[in-house]
């Protein structure tokens, strides 16, 4: 499952993710990371049944953890099912079914937002990631 880890400026320089991984033995697969002077924000994948464990380890170190239930929002009313999104997505979130309907597997999304830029109909947007 996808989670977002928010790190405040006072603990930005501490290796809290490395510590949490070492302490719990739970693997984090980082897909997006952004750091500036004010804060840090990391999007990562963690196994569902290990989430609680990892979440606690990170929170103990001062991070804020949010579940990304809908990493990419697909507005089916705006979508014309052209498939523009398919070729730019690095993780194959989008596919066309046999009847050329668009299928969206949001669990694969790493929130890179390339598809958001690509979509001619503004039918794709990122959730929880403002």
């Amino acid at each position: 499952m996808k989670i977002k880890i928010n790190i405040s400026s006072d603990i930005l320089t501490k290796p809290i993710m490395a510590e949490a991984i070492l302490e719990t033995g739970v693997l984090l697969n980082i897909s997006q990371a952004h750091f500036d002077r004010s804060h840090g924000e990391v999007v990562a994948d963690v196994e569902k049944d290990k989430f609680e464990l990892m979440c606690k380890a990170l929170m103990d170190r001062g991070a804020k953890v949010t579940k990304l239930d809908t990493p990419i929002r697909w507005d089916e009313n705006e979508c014309v099912e052209c498939s523009a999104c398919i070729s730019v997505c690095p993780t194959k979130v989008f596919a066309l079914a046999d009847d050329f309907s668009l299928e969206v597997d949001e669990t694969k999304c790493i929130q890179c937002a390339t598809c958001v830029d690509m979509c001619p109909h503004n039918a794709l947007s990122l959730e929880n990631n403002k």
Partner: protein, 500 residues
């Protein structure tokens, strides 16, 4: 030999006995029965396409105000419409963008909003005349309030279109969508097997006066589209239809990031099967239609073709470029194209839509010409400064400052011991270093990622790069990275000042 007339087909539509299939279904019927058998069996084949058609717009007649105005400039929701005709007529074009919202909202959005029943703000100005005294007008109108709203599109429904890719090292944003670096993806447009003009490439039944499906209602082909280039298989058509009867299912505003707005439009042409030649033509498949993948990374009218490809390959999800599988995206919707072909089929089967013979067929074997340009195309080598002062990377900041003062050059290319470009330093870089009390070497404060150009590039292309990278000067280098000149925004300004 099968020989049918439009009249016979229309009487079958009237009495409900007509046999109508989509162009996809026709492929199998011709496959089974052969062209002659299929021509006996089938009366009408329906086609459909739904994609971005930038060359679209609507003629609006607003009715006269009291006191009346002869509109000189008119804006709908801040998007300018063209009104260089009679007093209260204007043409709202799909790609015109909002004065305030820019690329987020354009003529296409105004058109969609009108179809959806939303009201739009009209603002018009005029110089005022004895017969039209009013100078400014502001009101709010819906589609219902207009006398006419006639969609009239100069160029729609390309027979086929080039596919797009990008050889450069950065993502580019085009009307074919985002094209990822190093041939990262391929985008294409067109309905292939369902494409109206590809199903009658000799225009045996298509031309001025052909009744069609347009935006969810009946419309007409009014003639060849602009840039109609039937010789190369790039035919287009000019169409019109009543916006008041159109549906947002088939008329949708779009934004292409970095390009602007466009209109996605649904269109379908019925092809009456008058003989076996026409039946054979409608059996065309995705595998029969070839196009070129062009490199949109080359900012030229003559984009080089990377390879030839069929619509079947494009629709498979990936194509091979240089031994690598590159993912493809359709920018038009095949699902919607199918819906259009099916809906048109239903209209005909129900007796709501009759086929027509054109008053004149679309012209064959013509080609669109590139623009005649009377001004020479300026190259970097025409306007660059050739006496360039460079500085070595090991020089001191004091040396650099002195060189700038002595020579009056604001930008100094920095070179290594082989005279190859390794950086650039400006008067501003020096001021910054001095203000921080840093008196190091040039190589410590120079900008290492230098934006450069080559002598054979066109000035218009280089000017855009300067703008995008926010620099005011670029070293001109040769293949060995030796500095052979310098081009500045001043040089470019002077070039255009001289011309006007």
């Amino acid at each position: 030999m099968v020989k049918k007339t439009i009249h016979e087909i229309n009487s079958r539509i009237r009495d409900g006995s007509v046999s109508v299939v989509t162009a996809e279904e026709m492929v199998h019927i011709v496959g089974e029965l052969g062209a002659e058998g299929a021509a006996k069996e089938v009366d009408v084949v329906t086609t459909g396409t739904f994609g971005a058609m930038c060359s679209s717009g609507v003629w609006l007649n607003f009715g006269h105000s009291e006191p009346p105005i002869k509109m000189q400039k008119v804006f709908l929701n801040d998007v300018e419409a063209y009104t260089g005709v009679a007093a209260v007529d204007a043409f709202i074009g799909a790609t015109q963008i909002s004065e305030t919202l820019g690329m987020d909202y354009g003529g296409a959005h105004v058109i969609e909003d009108l179809i959806r029943g939303k009201s739009v703000n009209l603002h018009a100005i005029s110089h005022g005349t004895d017969c039209y005294p009013r100078k400014v007008l502001d009101t709010t109108l819906t589609l219902e309030d207009m006398n006419q709203a006639i969609m009239m599109n100069p160029r729609n429904a390309y027979q086929k279109y080039n596919a797009a890719t990008n050889s450069t090292k950065s993502t580019i944003h085009t009307y074919m969508g985002s094209l990822l670096p190093s041939f990262g993806n391929v985008t294409y447009s067109g309905a292939g097997v369902l494409s109206p003009l590809s199903n009658d490439p000799d225009y045996m039944t298509i031309g001025t006066g052909t009744r069609i499906f347009l935006g969810g209602t009946q419309g007409y082909i009014t003639g060849q589209g602009t840039q109609h280039s039937s010789g190369g298989g790039f035919g287009t058509m000019m169409v019109q239809g009543d916006l008041k009867n159109m549906s947002p299912d088939y008329v949708r505003a779009a934004n292409f990031a970095g390009y602007g707005t466009s209109l996605y439009l649904g269109m379908g042409v019925p092809i009456p099967i008058l003989n076996e030649q026409i039946a054979q033509a409608t059996a065309v498949t995705d595998a029969d239609i070839t196009t070129n993948i062009l490199d949109y990374g080359v900012p030229s009218r003559d984009r080089p073709a990377v390879r030839q490809v069929t619509y079947a390959e494009l629709r498979s999800g990936s194509v091979e470029i240089d031994g690598r599988d590159v993912p493809t995206s359709s920018m038009s919707s095949f699902k919607k194209s199918r819906m259009i072909a099916s809906e048109l089929k239903e209209w005909i089967a129900r007796g709501d839509f009759f086929v027509s013979m054109p008053a004149e067929r679309l012209p064959k074997d013509v080609s669109a010409r590139p623009m005649k340009q009377t001004e020479g195309i300026a190259l970097v080598s025409d306007i660059m400064a050739v006496s360039v002062v460079t500085i070595g990377m090991g020089a001191s900041i004091y040396d650099a400052a002195k060189t700038i003062m002595d020579t009056d050059f604001n930008h100094l290319p920095v070179v290594d011991e082989n005279e190859c470009l390794v950086g650039i330093i400006t008067a501003w870089d020096i001021s910054k270093a001095v203000s921080q009390n840093k008196f190091d070497l040039v190589e410590d404060i120079m900008t290492r990622k230098v934006i450069t150009s080559s002598a054979d590039e066109r000035v218009a292309v280089v000017a855009r790069r300067m703008d995008q990278d926010s620099v005011s000067a670029m070293p001109v280098i040769n293949k060995g990275r030796r500095v052979i000149g310098m081009i500045t925004s001043d040089d470019i300004s002077k070039l255009y000042a001289r011309r006007s």
